[in-house]
Structures are given as structure tokens and as C-alpha cells.
């Protein structure tokens, strides 16, 4: 990581700390904000957050590893999460899954080479009446079939 990038990230975290505060309850909100923008929370970012909140970096790491939407490893620019819970499964998740992996040439848990998309599974999205469903970043798409799913993925930058 370049020094300039580090400085920029430090400043960004400082402004988040100013916004959310330095109390422990702010930790999750700060991590969510970093994760939303960078799609992961790097080691350096974790150390900086720990420094501002005056806690051990391991505390920060332990929180990140607990939540499935937070991540310490770099990911793609867009995170696609396909629901694999029972109702979506019965509604045809397998067909969507097969088409999407074939189209992108990656399996679930992987990122495309151009860093455009990371594919993941998720548990129930609360769209059981309209499955199969998937989340693209924070947006939810329902009533998927293999074709619409691929069209959605091809549209995202």
C-alpha cells in the first residue's frame, strides 16, 4: 500500500470516527462504512480503527470475522449473494447457480479476474415468496431465472 493511499484511508477513518464517535458501539458502524466503500477492511484499516477507538486490533478483527457481510480480504467491486435457503432452493436456485458460475467462469466464493464481481451464497434474504432471490451489493432481485440473473450480472460495472 502506498503512503499516499494509507494517508487517504487514515483520513477517511478519522472522519468516520468523528461521525460515529469513539465508543465501542460505534465500531460496527465504522466497519460497515469502510466495508461498504472498499468491499473489505484491510489490515491497515483495522489497525487504524483500533488506534482511534483505543482498543486492540484483535478486537476489531474478531468483530469482522463474526459477521458474514464484513470481510478482511480484498473482494470484487460488486458482491453478488445468492440465497440458498430452502424456499429459494425449491424455486430453482440450482439452475440460476449453474448458469451464473458458467457465465462468469468462477465458482461461489471466488472473484472474477477483472475484480468486477465476487460470488457468494447467503442465507434467507426474506424474499421466500418471490424466489430465487439474490442481493447485488445492497439491492435485492427476485423471481430470478437463469436468463434474468445473467442479464443483471452483465449490467453491473
Amino acid at each position: 500500500m502506498l503512503v499516499l493511499e494509507k494517508n487517504a484511508l487514515s483520513e477517511e477513518i478519522e472522519s468516520l470516527v468523528n461521525q460515529y464517535g469513539t465508543d465501542r458501539p460505534a465500531l460496527l458502524q465504522i466497519l460497515q462504512a469502510i466495508n461498504r466503500k472498499h468491499k473489505h477492511i484491510s489490515d491497515f484499516a483495522q489497525q487504524e480503527v483500533a488506534r482511534f477507538l483505543n482498543i486492540h486490533p484483535v478486537e476489531v478483527f474478531s468483530v469482522i470475522t463474526f459477521y458474514s457481510f464484513l470481510c478482511s480480504e480484498p473482494k470484487g467491486r460488486n458482491i453478488v449473494r445468492l440465497c440458498r435457503t430452502i424456499s429459494c432452493d425449491m424455486a430453482g436456485k440450482d439452475a440460476v447457480e449453474a448458469t451464473v458460475t458458467r457465465e462468469l467462469g468462477i465458482s461461489f466464493g471466488e472473484t472474477t479476474k477483472d475484480k468486477r464481481i465476487t460470488l457468494e451464497y447467503t442465507n434467507c434474504l426474506g424474499m421466500c415468496d418471490q424466489g430465487p432471490a439474490m442481493l447485488v451489493n445492497e439491492k435485492v432481485y427476485t423471481h430470478l431465472d437463469p436468463e434474468t440473473a445473467v442479464n443483471i450480472l452483465n449490467e453491473i460495472k
Partner: protein
């Protein structure tokens, strides 16, 4: 491609989906004494709608009686149980019911802050909910001196989860709000005494708070008209799976399962999973059971399986869910779920013994009593009920164990 957030509200019922004008509950509540409100809630017999069914009035009374500088109202919008989506409909279409309920709760127990814990998957709702809160502030239904009444202050803020099912458990939710790993706490002490930041806290489900708004505007007697003696009022059921009309239905407690199946146009039904992955699987022979706290209890999730479904595959899906979502804090849940999963793989491959399966069922029963929170206590439910009720199908000894794949 536009992203979709349509709701499948199929049947408007007599209680929750009855007419309600935004702000009415708050306007009426601040002219009532706290005791009157508690009496009305107690009289209504309202129980927690998240699934556990703890009497709401008792929870409120304990918190109201606690001595503390600060108290909190937390709205549990971490709707993660597989097959549950009623809170999505309430939050998108009836946010006024939820937020008014929170203000009433705050006034009653003497809290000045309400926090909505919205699951990370529902982040797309954030904007519309924040807009609604701004509207309420403009109408003086929120903020300092609500409706011009000196000393009645209440503020609501929304906090997001980050994809952890266990955070729907109230103490885990509080841990998460405090910026920690969402691991459940030992209970007691209960959140009514030491909740968020160790202050007395009421944690209520979205639907519970919505019911409160209606009870305040009408009354407890009106609420009690629907439902059974032990389960008063009506319930939102999130129906999914093999049926003609999946969606959210408001039906009175005490509705029989076969009646519900008829309403949602389910055909050739083999089994119904009541209460989501942590609920029980009810076979055709028991479809005359009623949906109520005292019989087949549910937080709203109803998943329907028709004759073509493979019950072992369904069970496997549920157990995969629990293996992944167990927080790993206590051993019965962390290890037990993995052991049950191994058992399912063995049944799939046909290399099991009944002695082994019986041992696993015993393990499941141990998990039900020894796990720290509701996740581990209820995760063996599906395992035990499906293996018990569908043993002919699963253990059909045709020489190879079982056949799987859709028929």
C-alpha cells in the same frame, strides 16, 4: 433491470392490517397514564411475535419498574428465520405502525431512545425508513416535547446488522448493538434489567410493536376478539414453498393448518414446516393441528412441501443453515450441529446404522437442553421431527439406503 421490492400481501386481516392513521397511537397514548397503557396491553394478552411468545406486558412492566438513569426500546428487525418475511411487509408498507409502537413503548417504560436493529440484508429499506422518521419529526411525533408535551422526549435511530442470523436472539442483538461479536449472553440477567449498555432494555419484534399501536387506538378487548384463549389476536404468516399463492397472510391465531393450506391454494401437500428452520415439520396426518402458541407455534414462517419433495434434502438444507449460522460460542450447538450434519450425509450415502441415528437423536435432545440460546435449543427440532415423521421415506430399505432427487 430494476431491483425489486414488491410485497406479496395476499390477505388483509382484521387486526394488523385494519385501518390505522399514522400517529394516532402516539396522540392517544400521551393522554393516558402509564398504568392504563400497561393494563390495556396486559388485557390484550399480546405475546412476543418473534416466535418465543413472551408476554409483552410483563416485559414492559419489568422494565418500567427498573430504576435507572436511562432505558432503551429496541425494535428487533433482524428477521432471519428461513421462510419469514412479514417484517419486510410491515417495514415497507406500515412503518407508521412500527415506529408509533416504539414511541408508545418509550413513553410507557420511560425510555428516551429507540433503536431499530435492521438486518443487513434489508439495507435497501433504510432510505424509506429514514424518510418516514424525518416525517414523524416534522409532525412532532418524535424528538423533544412530543406533540408539545413538556418532558416527553423520544428519538429513534436505525442501526444495521451485518448478516448474522444469531443476532435475532435478543442478547446477541444487544451485543451487536454494542459493537461486539453477536454472541448471546447468559440469561438471567435479562435485558429488562441489564440490556443495551447495561441499561434496562425492551427488545420487541416488529410485529409486536405494530400490534401495540392498534391496541392503543382500539383496546385490549377488541384485540382479544380474535384468536384463542392463550394466543390472542391475529398473526402474520409468511407462506412460501409449494403453493399457488405465496405471500403474507393475516389470520387469527388458532387457524388450522389445513384451512391455511386451502387459502394459499396448496395442492398435494406432504408436509408443512411451521416456524422456519428452527420449527417443526408437520406431516399430512397432523394437518388438523392449529397454529397457536399452545400447539404449533411459529414466528410466522410457513414453508409448504408437496409430494415431489425429498425430505432428506430439505433436512440437509436446514442443517447446513445451522452449521453455518451457529455462533460457535457454546459446545452443544457448535459441535452438535456438525454431528447432526454428518449423520445426514451418512444417511444420504446409505452407510448408517439405526443405533447411530438413535444416538444422534439423543444428541439432539441434549442440544435442546444444554445450548445457551434459542438457536442451539431449536436447531435439532427439524432433525428430530423429520426423521421421526418421514422415516418410511428416508429409511426405505431398498438395499441402497434411500433414493434422493426430485421424483
Amino acid at each position: 433491470m430494476k431491483f425489486t421490492k414488491t410485497n406479496n400481501k395476499k390477505r388483509t386481516g382484521p387486526v394488523l392490517f385494519s385501518e390505522y392513521c399514522a400517529g394516532d397511537a402516539v396522540k392517544k397514548a400521551i393522554n393516558l397514564s402509564r398504568e392504563d397503557i400497561l393494563f390495556e396491553i396486559k388485557n390484550s394478552g399480546l405475546k412476543g411475535r418473534g416466535g418465543a411468545g413472551f408476554p409483552t406486558a410483563t416485559k414492559w412492566m419489568l422494565t418500567a419498574a427498573a430504576n435507572a438513569d436511562e432505558k432503551f426500546i429496541v425494535c428487533n428487525a433482524d428477521e432471519g428465520e428461513p421462510g419469514t418475511f412479514k417484517d419486510r411487509v410491515l417495514l415497507l408498507e406500515y412503518p407508521e405502525l412500527v415506529f408509533d409502537g416504539m414511541v408508545v413503548a418509550g413513553y410507557t417504560i420511560g425510555a428516551k431512545t429507540g433503536i431499530v436493529y435492521l438486518r443487513g440484508e434489508y439495507e435497501y429499506m433504510l432510505e424509506s425508513l429514514e424518510n418516514h422518521l424525518t416525517g414523524m419529526r416534522n409532525d412532532h411525533l418524535l424528538g423533544k416535547n412530543i406533540l408539545g408535551r413538556e418532558g416527553i422526549d423520544f428519538e429513534i435511530r436505525i442501526r444495521l446488522g451485518s448478516g448474522a442470523y444469531v443476532c435475532g436472539e435478543e442478547t446477541a442483538l444487544i451485543e451487536s448493538l454494542e459493537g461486539c461479536r453477536g454472541e448471546p449472553r447468559n440469561r438471567p440477567p435479562y435485558p429488562v434489567n441489564t440490556g443495551y449498555l447495561d441499561y434496562p432494555t425492551v427488545v420487541n419484534n416488529v410485529e409486536t410493536l405494530s400490534s401495540v399501536s392498534h391496541i392503543i387506538v382500539k383496546n385490549g378487548e377488541w384485540f382479544k376478539k380474535n384468536g384463542t384463549n392463550k394466543s390472542t389476536g391475529s398473526k402474520l404468516f409468511s407462506v412460501s414453498g409449494d403453493c399457488g399463492k405465496p405471500g403474507v397472510y393475516e389470520l387469527p391465531w388458532g387457524t388450522k393448518i389445513d384451512v391455511l393450506l386451502e387459502i394459499v391454494e396448496a395442492k398435494n401437500t406432504k408436509a408443512v414446516q411451521v416456524g422456519g428452520a428452527s420449527g417443526v415439520c408437520i406431516p399430512k396426518s397432523q394437518f388438523d393441528r392449529t397454529l397457536a402458541y399452545e400447539d404449533a407455534a411459529t414466528g410466522g414462517s410457513i414453508i409448504i412441501f408437496n409430494e415431489s419433495r425429498d425430505m432428506l434434502k430439505i433436512l440437509k438444507n436446514f442443517m447446513e443453515f445451522f452449521v453455518e449460522e451457529s455462533c460457535g460460542q457454546c459446545t452443544p450447538c457448535r459441535v452438535g450441529n456438525i454431528k447432526l450434519m454428518e449423520g445426514i450425509t451418512k444417511i444420504e450415502n446409505g452407510n448408517y446404522t439405526f443405533a447411530y441415528i438413535n444416538t444422534l437423536k439423543e444428541l439432539g435432545k441434549t442440544m435442546q437442553v444444554a445450548s445457551k440460546c434459542g438457536l442451539g435449543q431449536s436447531s435439532p427440532n427439524a432433525f428430530i421431527s423429520i426423521l421421526e415423521n418421514f422415516k418410511e421415506e428416508i429409511f426405505n430399505t431398498n438395499g441402497k439406503g434411500i433414493s434422493y432427487g426430485k421424483a
